[in-house]
Symmetry: C2
Subunit: 149 residues, 2 copies
């Protein structure tokens, strides 16, 4: 392997490391915020999806939040116990169950989502708006390529 190839691989590895570290640091902040409201990140992600997109078949939740079907059941169970979410059987397809926010769930998200968005804005305060725009563009390319392998 040539010197150039070695250096190219090292640059990729370095990028991987820095990406992982940055994502970890940001994720940690997000989790800290979310836990203060008595939720874990997955629970929050599910509530956020329903909050913004409305009622969803349980299976679609797994697709968007990127967790296994067995984990969805677990998370939806927990949110249902907390009364933030309710299940409703689909009238036309008896395999399907919809999940939607209860009034309590909506109230909760009205309360905590703006705070969460503000907190995330603070967390991302290390880069300018232009830099965020660059990051979005570059990470989209990076993510699309990695996701297509």
């Amino acid at each position: 392997m040539s010197r150039e190839e070695q250096e190219a691989e090292e640059l990729s590895l370095k990028t991987f490391t820095v990406l992982t570290r940055a994502a970890q640091a940001v994720k940690k902040q997000a989790e800290e915020d979310i836990r203060q409201h008595g939720l874990n990140p997955t629970e929050f992600a599910v509530l956020e999806l329903l909050y913004h997109k409305g009622e969803q078949p349980i299976q679609k939740i797994g697709g968007k939040v990127l967790i296994a079907s067995s984990s969805i059941t677990y998370v939806v169970d927990k949110l249902e116990k907390k009364a933030y979410l309710s299940r409703r059987p689909c009238p036309t397809d008896r395999r399907v169950t919809y999940a939607s926010l209860t009034e309590e769930g909506t109230d909760l998200m009205n309360e905590i989502f703006p705070k969460h968005r503000q907190r995330m804005h603070d967390v991302l305060g290390g880069v300018t708006e232009d830099e965020k725009t660059s990051l979005i563009e570059l990470m989209k390319k990076l993510g699309m390529h990695a996701g297509s392998l």
Copy 2:
């Protein structure tokens, strides 16, 4: 809240989302590669640390790999059972235990690390070298700020 502030927060949230997705996609590829060698990501990270930095006190491993002390014990136990790693008590401080690669562990890393580096290089193939350099700079800033909160 003004329109500008709202849009600024939305941009931050978008950046957060794209960062998370990109990191997730890349991490998934890394994990897939690592699992093919019978390891999980944490085990690999520990082996990699010892491979590049040599023998380390167990406690330092937790700091660099960013896992809780109780998790280190678990991972080191597993690697010891697989005979890739051995514990050695520190002669001068009886609280401390060093972990180091066995010959088998070194052989394994000689075998799989170059392949892993190549695979990661492929995974990061969606962006040019200049873009990687930009990403490193931007994500360092982002990660440093988030990590200091």
